[in-house]
Protein backbone atom coordinates (compact mmCIF):
# COMPACT_ATOMS: atom_id res chain seq x y z
CA UNK A 1 0.00 0.00 0.00
CA UNK A 2 2.99 2.30 0.23
CA UNK A 3 3.79 4.17 -2.92
CA UNK A 4 7.24 5.62 -2.79
CA UNK A 5 8.71 7.97 -5.28
CA UNK A 6 12.43 8.57 -5.40
CA UNK A 7 14.00 9.78 -2.17
CA UNK A 8 16.41 11.83 -4.26
CA UNK A 9 16.15 15.38 -3.09
CA UNK A 10 15.72 17.34 -6.27
CA UNK A 11 15.64 20.69 -4.53
CA UNK A 12 14.12 23.41 -6.54
CA UNK A 13 14.31 27.06 -5.72
CA UNK A 14 11.11 28.77 -4.78
CA UNK A 15 10.36 32.46 -5.07
CA UNK A 16 12.18 34.19 -2.23
CA UNK A 17 9.96 35.35 0.57
CA UNK A 18 10.94 38.24 2.79
CA UNK A 19 12.24 36.90 6.08
CA UNK A 20 12.06 38.72 9.36
CA UNK A 21 14.69 38.52 12.05
CA UNK A 22 14.86 35.15 13.75
CA UNK A 23 14.89 34.80 17.51
CA UNK A 24 17.74 32.85 19.13
CA UNK A 25 17.79 31.48 22.66
CA UNK A 26 19.83 28.97 24.65
CA UNK A 27 19.16 25.55 26.11
CA UNK A 28 22.06 24.86 28.43
CA UNK A 29 25.49 25.93 27.20
CA UNK A 30 25.79 23.90 24.01
CA UNK A 31 22.37 24.19 22.34
CA UNK A 32 20.99 27.17 20.45
CA UNK A 33 17.35 27.43 19.38
CA UNK A 34 16.54 29.53 16.33
CA UNK A 35 12.86 30.37 15.89
CA UNK A 36 11.56 31.73 12.61
CA UNK A 37 9.38 34.80 12.85
CA UNK A 38 5.92 34.84 11.30
CA UNK A 39 3.36 32.22 10.54
CA UNK A 40 3.40 28.48 11.11
CA UNK A 41 3.38 27.63 7.43
CA UNK A 42 5.21 25.89 4.63
CA UNK A 43 7.25 28.93 3.46
CA UNK A 44 8.75 29.29 6.96
CA UNK A 45 9.44 25.57 7.14
CA UNK A 46 11.22 25.64 3.78
CA UNK A 47 13.69 28.16 5.18
CA UNK A 48 14.18 25.91 8.22
CA UNK A 49 14.92 22.93 5.98
CA UNK A 50 17.53 24.97 4.13
CA UNK A 51 19.04 26.31 7.34
CA UNK A 52 19.18 22.80 8.73
CA UNK A 53 21.24 21.63 5.75
CA UNK A 54 23.66 24.55 6.05
CA UNK A 55 24.18 24.34 9.80
CA UNK A 56 24.54 20.56 9.99
CA UNK A 57 27.63 20.88 7.77
CA UNK A 58 29.44 23.15 10.26
CA UNK A 59 32.49 21.42 11.73
CA UNK A 60 31.66 22.33 15.35
CA UNK A 61 28.06 21.15 15.17
CA UNK A 62 27.15 17.81 16.73
CA UNK A 63 23.51 17.59 15.75
CA UNK A 64 20.61 19.63 14.42
CA UNK A 65 16.95 19.07 15.30
CA UNK A 66 14.46 20.78 13.01
CA UNK A 67 11.17 21.56 14.74
CA UNK A 68 8.05 23.37 13.64
CA UNK A 69 9.47 26.54 12.03
CA UNK A 70 12.50 26.36 14.31
CA UNK A 71 15.88 24.67 14.53
CA UNK A 72 17.80 23.47 17.57
CA UNK A 73 21.54 23.26 16.99
CA UNK A 74 23.73 21.22 19.36
CA UNK A 75 27.42 22.07 19.40
CA UNK A 76 30.13 19.53 20.19
CA UNK A 77 31.36 21.65 23.06
CA UNK A 78 30.36 24.89 24.74
CA UNK A 79 31.36 27.67 22.35
CA UNK A 80 33.99 30.08 23.64
CA UNK A 81 32.08 32.98 22.12
CA UNK A 82 28.31 32.39 22.24
CA UNK A 83 27.58 35.81 20.71
CA UNK A 84 29.62 34.85 17.65
CA UNK A 85 27.55 31.65 17.36
CA UNK A 86 24.34 33.68 17.52
CA UNK A 87 25.78 35.90 14.78
CA UNK A 88 26.64 32.90 12.59
CA UNK A 89 23.17 31.42 13.03
CA UNK A 90 21.45 34.71 12.21
CA UNK A 91 23.61 35.14 9.14
CA UNK A 92 22.83 31.58 8.02
CA UNK A 93 19.14 32.31 8.55
CA UNK A 94 19.33 35.51 6.51
CA UNK A 95 21.10 33.66 3.73
CA UNK A 96 18.91 30.57 3.81
CA UNK A 97 17.26 29.99 0.46
CA UNK A 98 13.75 28.62 0.40
CA UNK A 99 14.04 24.99 -0.58
CA UNK A 100 11.47 22.36 -1.03
CA UNK A 101 12.30 18.80 -0.12
CA UNK A 102 10.77 16.62 -2.77
CA UNK A 103 10.37 13.65 -0.53
CA UNK A 104 8.60 10.43 -1.23
CA UNK A 105 4.87 9.89 -0.99
CA UNK A 106 3.69 7.57 1.74
CA UNK A 107 0.20 6.16 1.73
CA UNK A 108 -1.04 5.07 5.12
CA UNK A 109 -4.00 2.69 5.17
CA UNK A 110 -6.40 3.69 7.93
CA UNK A 111 -9.22 1.91 9.65
CA UNK A 112 -11.41 4.95 10.41
CA UNK A 113 -13.84 4.65 13.31
CA UNK A 114 -14.11 1.49 15.37
CA UNK A 115 -12.69 0.78 18.79
CA UNK A 116 -9.56 2.92 18.43
CA UNK A 117 -11.45 6.05 17.31
CA UNK A 118 -12.03 7.07 20.90
CA UNK A 119 -12.39 10.77 20.14
CA UNK A 120 -14.34 10.73 16.89
CA UNK A 121 -17.63 11.49 18.63
CA UNK A 122 -16.08 14.42 20.49
CA UNK A 123 -14.63 15.73 17.23
CA UNK A 124 -18.08 15.56 15.62
CA UNK A 125 -19.52 17.56 18.53
CA UNK A 126 -16.71 20.10 18.37
CA UNK A 127 -16.83 20.58 14.60
CA UNK A 128 -20.55 20.16 14.06
CA UNK A 129 -19.78 17.68 11.30
CA UNK A 130 -20.98 14.11 10.89
CA UNK A 131 -18.48 11.28 11.45
CA UNK A 132 -18.64 10.51 7.73
CA UNK A 133 -17.68 14.10 6.88
CA UNK A 134 -14.84 14.16 9.42
CA UNK A 135 -13.38 10.99 7.92
CA UNK A 136 -13.82 12.23 4.36
CA UNK A 137 -12.17 15.59 5.10
CA UNK A 138 -9.28 13.86 6.88
CA UNK A 139 -8.47 11.38 4.12
CA UNK A 140 -9.03 13.75 1.21
CA UNK A 141 -6.29 16.13 2.33
CA UNK A 142 -2.66 15.83 1.36
CA UNK A 143 -0.18 16.30 4.20
CA UNK A 144 3.48 17.24 4.42
CA UNK A 145 5.89 15.96 7.04
CA UNK A 146 7.28 19.13 8.61
CA UNK A 147 9.47 17.45 11.19
CA UNK A 148 9.89 14.28 13.20
CA UNK A 149 10.05 14.17 16.95
CA UNK A 150 8.47 13.34 20.29
CA UNK A 151 8.52 9.56 19.72
CA UNK A 152 10.71 7.37 17.47
CA UNK A 153 9.54 7.93 13.89
CA UNK A 154 6.63 10.23 14.76
CA UNK A 155 5.97 12.72 11.97
CA UNK A 156 4.36 16.08 12.60
CA UNK A 157 2.02 16.49 9.62
CA UNK A 158 0.93 19.84 8.29
CA UNK A 159 -2.10 20.31 6.04
CA UNK A 160 -5.08 19.57 8.24
CA UNK A 161 -8.34 21.08 7.00
CA UNK A 162 -9.39 23.75 9.50
CA UNK A 163 -12.90 22.30 9.65
CA UNK A 164 -11.62 19.29 11.60
CA UNK A 165 -9.31 21.25 13.89
CA UNK A 166 -9.52 19.90 17.43
CA UNK A 167 -7.48 21.21 20.38
CA UNK A 168 -5.27 18.85 22.34
CA UNK A 169 -6.94 17.45 25.43
CA UNK A 170 -6.27 19.18 28.70
CA UNK A 171 -6.23 15.76 30.36
CA UNK A 172 -4.40 13.27 28.14
CA UNK A 173 -5.68 9.76 27.52
CA UNK A 174 -3.75 7.53 29.89
CA UNK A 175 -3.11 4.77 27.42
CA UNK A 176 -3.60 5.42 23.76
CA UNK A 177 -2.59 2.56 21.48
CA UNK A 178 0.34 2.78 19.12
CA UNK A 179 -1.11 3.19 15.61
CA UNK A 180 -3.94 5.55 16.55
CA UNK A 181 -4.51 8.18 13.88
CA UNK A 182 -4.79 11.43 15.76
CA UNK A 183 -5.50 15.13 15.48
CA UNK A 184 -3.79 17.63 17.79
CA UNK A 185 -4.73 21.22 17.06
CA UNK A 186 -3.95 21.87 13.40
CA UNK A 187 -1.65 18.86 13.23
CA UNK A 188 -2.28 15.23 12.56
CA UNK A 189 -0.16 12.10 12.93
CA UNK A 190 0.02 8.44 13.83
CA UNK A 191 0.85 7.54 17.45
CA UNK A 192 4.17 5.67 17.59
CA UNK A 193 4.09 4.45 21.18
CA UNK A 194 1.35 3.12 23.41
CA UNK A 195 1.02 5.51 26.32
CA UNK A 196 -0.31 8.86 27.51
CA UNK A 197 -1.42 11.01 24.60
CA UNK A 198 -3.20 14.35 24.43
CA UNK A 199 -4.21 14.11 20.77
CA UNK A 200 -7.63 12.97 19.51
CA UNK A 201 -7.94 9.55 17.93
CA UNK A 202 -10.20 9.01 14.91
CA UNK A 203 -8.86 5.72 13.57
CA UNK A 204 -6.05 3.19 13.45
CA UNK A 205 -3.15 2.48 11.11
CA UNK A 206 -1.34 -0.84 11.24
CA UNK A 207 1.80 0.23 9.44
CA UNK A 208 5.33 -0.25 10.71
CA UNK A 209 6.80 3.23 10.70
CA UNK A 210 9.92 2.74 12.83
CA UNK A 211 12.52 -0.03 12.80
CA UNK A 212 15.69 0.50 14.85
CA UNK A 213 17.49 -2.31 12.98
CA UNK A 214 17.04 -0.61 9.62
CA UNK A 215 19.62 1.70 8.04
CA UNK A 216 16.77 4.20 7.73
CA UNK A 217 14.88 3.57 10.98
CA UNK A 218 12.08 6.06 10.36
CA UNK A 219 9.68 5.55 7.46
CA UNK A 220 8.84 9.25 7.31
CA UNK A 221 11.27 12.07 6.62
CA UNK A 222 10.80 15.84 6.55
CA UNK A 223 9.39 16.91 3.20
CA UNK A 224 7.54 13.65 2.58
CA UNK A 225 3.97 13.75 1.39
CA UNK A 226 1.48 11.67 3.33
CA UNK A 227 -1.95 10.49 2.27
CA UNK A 228 -4.33 8.59 4.47
CA UNK A 229 -6.19 5.92 2.55
CA UNK A 230 -9.38 4.53 4.08
CA UNK A 231 -8.86 0.76 4.29
CA UNK A 232 -12.05 0.41 6.25
CA UNK A 233 -14.62 2.83 7.59
CA UNK A 234 -16.55 1.61 10.61
CA UNK A 235 -19.05 4.21 11.78
Amino acid sequence: MIARSSILATHHEIQPVVKGRANISFIGSRSFLLEAPGEFDLPAQRFIWALSQTVSAWADVAEVIPGMTNLLTLFKETPADPDAVVGRLLEAWDNAASIDLSGKTVEIPVHYGGEYATDLAALCDFSGLSDREVVRIHHEATYRVFALGSAPGFGYLHGLDGRIYMPRKTVPSIKMEKGCVTIGGMQTGVAMLTGPNGWNSIGYADLKMFDPTSATPALLAPGDTVRFVPARVEL
Binding site: G28, I65, A147, G149, P212, P217, P222
Partner: protein, 331 residues
Protein backbone atom coordinates in the same frame (compact mmCIF):
# COMPACT_ATOMS: atom_id res chain seq x y z
CA UNK B 1 29.49 -13.92 30.77
CA UNK B 2 27.65 -12.12 33.54
CA UNK B 3 24.60 -13.57 35.23
CA UNK B 4 22.16 -11.29 37.03
CA UNK B 5 21.38 -12.86 40.41
CA UNK B 6 19.32 -10.11 41.97
CA UNK B 7 17.99 -6.80 40.68
CA UNK B 8 15.32 -4.20 41.31
CA UNK B 9 13.29 -2.60 38.51
CA UNK B 10 14.74 -0.23 35.92
CA UNK B 11 18.37 -1.32 35.96
CA UNK B 12 19.54 -1.22 32.37
CA UNK B 13 22.45 -1.57 29.98
CA UNK B 14 23.66 1.93 29.10
CA UNK B 15 26.52 3.63 27.34
CA UNK B 16 26.93 7.28 26.41
CA UNK B 17 23.74 7.14 24.36
CA UNK B 18 22.72 7.41 20.73
CA UNK B 19 22.87 11.08 19.84
CA UNK B 20 22.17 12.04 16.26
CA UNK B 21 18.67 10.61 15.92
CA UNK B 22 16.63 13.22 17.76
CA UNK B 23 15.62 14.52 14.33
CA UNK B 24 13.64 11.28 13.90
CA UNK B 25 12.24 11.37 17.42
CA UNK B 26 14.73 9.04 19.10
CA UNK B 27 16.01 10.24 22.45
CA UNK B 28 19.78 10.11 22.93
CA UNK B 29 19.39 8.19 26.20
CA UNK B 30 22.58 6.89 27.75
CA UNK B 31 23.79 6.87 31.35
CA UNK B 32 22.45 9.48 33.78
CA UNK B 33 25.98 9.97 35.14
CA UNK B 34 28.16 9.90 32.05
CA UNK B 35 31.24 10.98 34.00
CA UNK B 36 31.05 7.86 36.19
CA UNK B 37 30.72 5.72 33.06
CA UNK B 38 33.73 7.28 31.37
CA UNK B 39 35.79 6.96 34.55
CA UNK B 40 34.80 3.31 35.07
CA UNK B 41 35.56 2.43 31.48
CA UNK B 42 38.97 4.09 31.60
CA UNK B 43 39.79 2.17 34.81
CA UNK B 44 39.04 -1.20 33.23
CA UNK B 45 40.84 -0.29 30.01
CA UNK B 46 37.84 0.31 27.73
CA UNK B 47 36.99 3.13 25.41
CA UNK B 48 35.01 5.71 27.44
CA UNK B 49 31.77 4.83 25.67
CA UNK B 50 31.70 1.07 26.29
CA UNK B 51 28.43 -0.36 27.58
CA UNK B 52 27.97 -0.74 31.35
CA UNK B 53 25.20 -1.66 33.77
CA UNK B 54 23.34 1.28 35.27
CA UNK B 55 22.02 0.32 38.70
CA UNK B 56 19.40 2.60 40.21
CA UNK B 57 17.50 0.12 42.36
CA UNK B 58 19.32 -1.92 44.98
CA UNK B 59 20.50 -4.39 46.10
CA UNK B 60 21.94 -5.63 42.85
CA UNK B 61 23.90 -8.83 42.52
CA UNK B 62 25.70 -10.50 39.64
CA UNK B 63 28.03 -13.45 39.10
CA UNK B 64 30.86 -13.61 36.60
CA UNK B 65 31.51 -16.89 34.83
CA UNK B 66 35.18 -16.22 34.11
CA UNK B 67 38.02 -13.98 35.34
CA UNK B 68 37.02 -10.39 34.67
CA UNK B 69 38.34 -6.92 35.40
CA UNK B 70 35.57 -4.69 36.72
CA UNK B 71 35.04 -1.32 38.40
CA UNK B 72 32.04 0.12 40.22
CA UNK B 73 31.66 3.87 39.95
CA UNK B 74 29.02 6.51 40.59
CA UNK B 75 27.27 5.75 43.83
CA UNK B 76 28.47 5.75 47.42
CA UNK B 77 26.95 2.46 48.60
CA UNK B 78 28.82 -0.62 49.72
CA UNK B 79 30.42 -2.73 47.02
CA UNK B 80 30.99 -6.36 48.00
CA UNK B 81 32.93 -9.05 46.18
CA UNK B 82 32.05 -12.47 47.58
CA UNK B 83 30.71 -10.68 50.65
CA UNK B 84 33.85 -8.62 51.30
CA UNK B 85 34.09 -4.83 50.94
CA UNK B 86 35.99 -3.61 47.92
CA UNK B 87 36.76 -0.05 46.93
CA UNK B 88 34.52 1.74 44.46
CA UNK B 89 36.19 3.89 41.78
CA UNK B 90 38.75 1.12 41.53
CA UNK B 91 39.45 -1.62 38.98
CA UNK B 92 39.61 -5.12 40.48
CA UNK B 93 40.06 -8.59 39.10
CA UNK B 94 37.22 -11.02 39.80
CA UNK B 95 37.69 -14.78 39.48
CA UNK B 96 35.27 -17.00 37.61
CA UNK B 97 32.27 -17.64 39.90
CA UNK B 98 32.78 -14.50 41.99
CA UNK B 99 29.67 -12.61 43.12
CA UNK B 100 29.54 -8.83 43.03
CA UNK B 101 26.95 -7.07 45.15
CA UNK B 102 25.95 -3.42 45.21
CA UNK B 103 24.12 -2.16 48.29
CA UNK B 104 21.83 0.86 48.60
CA UNK B 105 23.87 4.07 48.30
CA UNK B 106 23.71 6.67 51.04
CA UNK B 107 23.39 9.94 49.19
CA UNK B 108 23.66 9.17 45.53
CA UNK B 109 21.25 7.59 43.10
CA UNK B 110 23.11 5.51 40.52
CA UNK B 111 26.00 3.07 40.36
CA UNK B 112 27.74 1.75 37.26
CA UNK B 113 29.40 -1.60 36.72
CA UNK B 114 32.03 -1.43 34.00
CA UNK B 115 33.79 -4.62 32.86
CA UNK B 116 36.85 -5.05 30.67
CA UNK B 117 35.67 -5.43 27.09
CA UNK B 118 32.34 -3.79 27.83
CA UNK B 119 28.94 -5.44 27.64
CA UNK B 120 28.50 -7.02 24.26
CA UNK B 121 24.89 -6.36 23.37
CA UNK B 122 23.72 -5.52 19.87
CA UNK B 123 24.62 -2.06 18.60
CA UNK B 124 21.46 -0.36 17.35
CA UNK B 125 21.63 3.05 15.73
CA UNK B 126 25.20 3.46 16.91
CA UNK B 127 24.67 2.62 20.57
CA UNK B 128 24.23 -0.24 23.02
CA UNK B 129 22.07 1.73 25.42
CA UNK B 130 18.57 0.61 26.34
CA UNK B 131 15.83 2.83 24.92
CA UNK B 132 12.90 2.26 27.25
CA UNK B 133 10.88 4.63 25.08
CA UNK B 134 10.46 2.40 22.07
CA UNK B 135 11.81 -0.71 23.81
CA UNK B 136 14.89 -1.39 21.78
CA UNK B 137 18.64 -1.53 22.36
CA UNK B 138 20.53 -2.80 25.40
CA UNK B 139 19.26 -6.09 26.75
CA UNK B 140 16.28 -6.71 24.41
CA UNK B 141 15.03 -3.18 24.94
CA UNK B 142 14.07 -3.85 28.55
CA UNK B 143 15.43 -3.53 32.09
CA UNK B 144 17.57 -6.35 33.47
CA UNK B 145 15.83 -9.23 35.21
CA UNK B 146 17.05 -11.98 37.52
CA UNK B 147 18.51 -14.80 35.44
CA UNK B 148 19.57 -12.60 32.51
CA UNK B 149 22.95 -13.37 30.97
CA UNK B 150 25.10 -10.65 29.44
CA UNK B 151 28.05 -11.31 27.16
CA UNK B 152 31.19 -9.25 27.49
CA UNK B 153 33.38 -8.04 24.68
CA UNK B 154 37.04 -8.76 24.21
CA UNK B 155 39.82 -6.27 24.79
CA UNK B 156 42.92 -5.92 22.71
CA UNK B 157 46.26 -5.41 24.49
CA UNK B 158 45.08 -6.39 27.94
CA UNK B 159 47.39 -4.83 30.50
CA UNK B 160 47.91 -6.25 33.98
CA UNK B 161 46.32 -4.73 37.05
CA UNK B 162 48.12 -4.10 40.38
CA UNK B 163 47.18 -6.82 42.87
CA UNK B 164 45.42 -4.29 45.11
CA UNK B 165 43.51 -2.83 42.18
CA UNK B 166 43.77 0.50 40.42
CA UNK B 167 41.85 3.39 41.96
CA UNK B 168 41.20 7.01 41.08
CA UNK B 169 40.22 10.01 43.15
CA UNK B 170 36.56 10.26 42.23
CA UNK B 171 35.42 13.23 40.13
CA UNK B 172 33.46 15.03 42.87
CA UNK B 173 36.66 15.25 44.94
CA UNK B 174 39.22 15.63 42.18
CA UNK B 175 37.13 18.35 40.58
CA UNK B 176 35.91 20.00 43.79
CA UNK B 177 37.27 23.34 42.59
CA UNK B 178 34.90 23.44 39.59
CA UNK B 179 31.79 21.88 41.15
CA UNK B 180 30.09 23.94 43.87
CA UNK B 181 29.64 22.34 47.27
CA UNK B 182 26.32 20.87 48.32
CA UNK B 183 25.14 23.58 50.75
CA UNK B 184 23.06 22.28 53.68
CA UNK B 185 21.91 19.33 51.61
CA UNK B 186 21.00 21.51 48.63
CA UNK B 187 22.63 20.59 45.33
CA UNK B 188 23.68 23.68 43.40
CA UNK B 189 22.82 23.21 39.74
CA UNK B 190 24.16 25.72 37.26
CA UNK B 191 21.86 26.85 34.48
CA UNK B 192 21.52 29.49 31.77
CA UNK B 193 18.24 31.38 31.20
CA UNK B 194 16.31 29.88 28.27
CA UNK B 195 13.92 31.24 25.63
CA UNK B 196 10.88 32.09 27.76
CA UNK B 197 12.68 33.20 30.92
CA UNK B 198 11.60 36.81 30.37
CA UNK B 199 7.92 35.81 30.32
CA UNK B 200 8.14 34.86 33.98
CA UNK B 201 8.94 38.39 35.17
CA UNK B 202 9.23 38.35 38.99
CA UNK B 203 8.55 34.64 39.07
CA UNK B 204 11.82 34.29 37.17
CA UNK B 205 13.63 35.46 40.28
CA UNK B 206 11.50 33.14 42.41
CA UNK B 207 12.75 30.32 40.19
CA UNK B 208 16.40 31.05 40.98
CA UNK B 209 15.75 32.05 44.57
CA UNK B 210 13.96 29.02 45.94
CA UNK B 211 14.99 25.53 46.91
CA UNK B 212 13.18 22.92 44.79
CA UNK B 213 12.50 19.37 45.82
CA UNK B 214 12.84 16.52 43.32
CA UNK B 215 9.45 14.80 43.42
CA UNK B 216 8.91 11.07 43.56
CA UNK B 217 7.49 11.24 40.04
CA UNK B 218 10.99 11.48 38.63
CA UNK B 219 12.89 9.03 36.49
CA UNK B 220 15.40 8.78 33.63
CA UNK B 221 13.03 10.79 31.43
CA UNK B 222 12.77 13.77 33.70
CA UNK B 223 12.66 15.18 37.20
CA UNK B 224 9.49 16.90 38.35
CA UNK B 225 10.20 19.57 40.91
CA UNK B 226 7.98 20.65 43.78
CA UNK B 227 8.02 24.11 45.25
CA UNK B 228 6.25 27.44 45.00
CA UNK B 229 4.70 27.40 41.49
CA UNK B 230 5.95 29.94 38.96
CA UNK B 231 3.75 31.28 36.18
CA UNK B 232 4.46 33.22 33.01
CA UNK B 233 2.72 36.60 32.73
CA UNK B 234 1.31 35.61 29.35
CA UNK B 235 0.50 32.32 27.69
CA UNK B 236 2.23 32.06 24.41
CA UNK B 237 1.31 29.42 21.85
CA UNK B 238 4.53 27.49 21.44
CA UNK B 239 5.46 25.57 18.34
CA UNK B 240 7.01 22.21 18.95
CA UNK B 241 10.82 22.43 19.00
CA UNK B 242 13.76 20.19 19.78
CA UNK B 243 14.79 19.82 23.41
CA UNK B 244 17.82 18.29 25.12
CA UNK B 245 18.53 16.95 28.62
CA UNK B 246 18.81 19.77 31.11
CA UNK B 247 16.01 21.89 29.69
CA UNK B 248 13.80 23.20 32.50
CA UNK B 249 10.23 23.46 31.26
CA UNK B 250 7.31 24.93 33.15
CA UNK B 251 3.98 23.20 32.46
CA UNK B 252 0.70 25.04 33.27
CA UNK B 253 0.77 23.92 36.93
CA UNK B 254 3.89 26.02 37.50
CA UNK B 255 6.17 23.31 38.89
CA UNK B 256 9.17 22.84 36.62
CA UNK B 257 10.32 19.64 34.92
CA UNK B 258 13.97 19.01 34.10
CA UNK B 259 14.35 16.68 31.13
CA UNK B 260 17.00 14.03 31.78
CA UNK B 261 18.79 11.32 29.74
CA UNK B 262 15.65 9.82 28.21
CA UNK B 263 14.36 13.32 27.46
CA UNK B 264 11.55 13.77 25.04
CA UNK B 265 13.10 14.97 21.76
CA UNK B 266 10.54 17.72 21.25
CA UNK B 267 8.55 19.97 23.49
CA UNK B 268 6.37 23.01 23.63
CA UNK B 269 6.16 24.09 27.27
CA UNK B 270 7.77 27.43 28.14
CA UNK B 271 11.44 26.93 29.02
CA UNK B 272 12.79 29.01 31.85
CA UNK B 273 16.36 27.69 31.93
CA UNK B 274 18.75 25.03 30.74
CA UNK B 275 21.12 23.17 33.06
CA UNK B 276 24.64 23.22 31.67
CA UNK B 277 25.74 19.87 30.23
CA UNK B 278 28.71 19.70 32.60
CA UNK B 279 26.38 19.63 35.64
CA UNK B 280 23.97 16.99 34.35
CA UNK B 281 25.87 14.09 35.93
CA UNK B 282 25.39 15.66 39.37
CA UNK B 283 21.64 15.84 38.77
CA UNK B 284 21.81 12.24 37.58
CA UNK B 285 23.11 11.35 41.04
CA UNK B 286 20.31 13.22 42.84
CA UNK B 287 17.52 11.21 44.43
CA UNK B 288 13.78 11.84 44.56
CA UNK B 289 13.22 13.89 47.70
CA UNK B 290 16.55 15.64 47.18
CA UNK B 291 16.80 19.42 47.23
CA UNK B 292 18.28 21.56 44.49
CA UNK B 293 18.80 25.22 43.77
CA UNK B 294 19.46 26.69 40.34
CA UNK B 295 22.46 28.97 40.08
CA UNK B 296 22.67 31.32 37.14
CA UNK B 297 25.83 30.80 35.13
CA UNK B 298 27.47 31.75 31.85
CA UNK B 299 28.79 29.99 28.78
CA UNK B 300 32.26 30.96 29.93
CA UNK B 301 31.94 29.18 33.25
CA UNK B 302 30.30 26.17 31.58
CA UNK B 303 33.25 25.95 29.22
CA UNK B 304 35.75 26.07 32.09
CA UNK B 305 33.98 23.21 33.85
CA UNK B 306 33.84 21.23 30.62
CA UNK B 307 37.58 21.72 30.08
CA UNK B 308 38.38 20.72 33.68
CA UNK B 309 36.37 17.49 33.28
CA UNK B 310 38.14 16.75 30.01
CA UNK B 311 41.53 17.25 31.66
CA UNK B 312 40.55 14.99 34.58
CA UNK B 313 39.59 12.18 32.21
CA UNK B 314 42.78 12.59 30.17
CA UNK B 315 44.84 12.52 33.36
CA UNK B 316 43.34 9.33 34.73
CA UNK B 317 43.65 7.66 31.34
CA UNK B 318 47.32 8.60 31.12
CA UNK B 319 48.02 7.50 34.68
CA UNK B 320 46.13 4.22 34.37
CA UNK B 321 47.97 3.35 31.16
CA UNK B 322 51.30 4.28 32.72
CA UNK B 323 50.80 2.12 35.80
CA UNK B 324 49.69 -0.86 33.75
CA UNK B 325 52.56 -0.52 31.29
CA UNK B 326 55.08 -0.29 34.11
CA UNK B 327 53.65 -3.48 35.62
CA UNK B 328 53.86 -5.23 32.29
CA UNK B 329 57.48 -4.16 31.90
CA UNK B 330 58.29 -5.49 35.37
CA UNK B 331 56.53 -8.80 34.73
Amino acid sequence: MIEILETGPFNTVQDLGRPGFRNIGVTAGGAMDSLAVKTGNILVGNEPDAAVIEVQTFPFKLRVSMPMIFAVTGADGLVLLNGKDVLPWCAHLAKGGDVLELRQPVKRARAYVAVAGGLDVLVLMGSRSTALRGNFGGNDGRPLAKGDHLKTGTQENILPLPASGLAVVEPSQALANVFPDIVEGVLQVRAIPAGEHHLFADDGEAFWGQVWRISSRSDRTGYRLSGEPIKPTETREMRSHGVVPGVVQVPPGGEPIIQMSDANTAGGYPKIAGVIEADLWRLGQANPGGKIRFVRTSHEEARQVEQAVKTYLEDIKRTADMVKRALKAMA
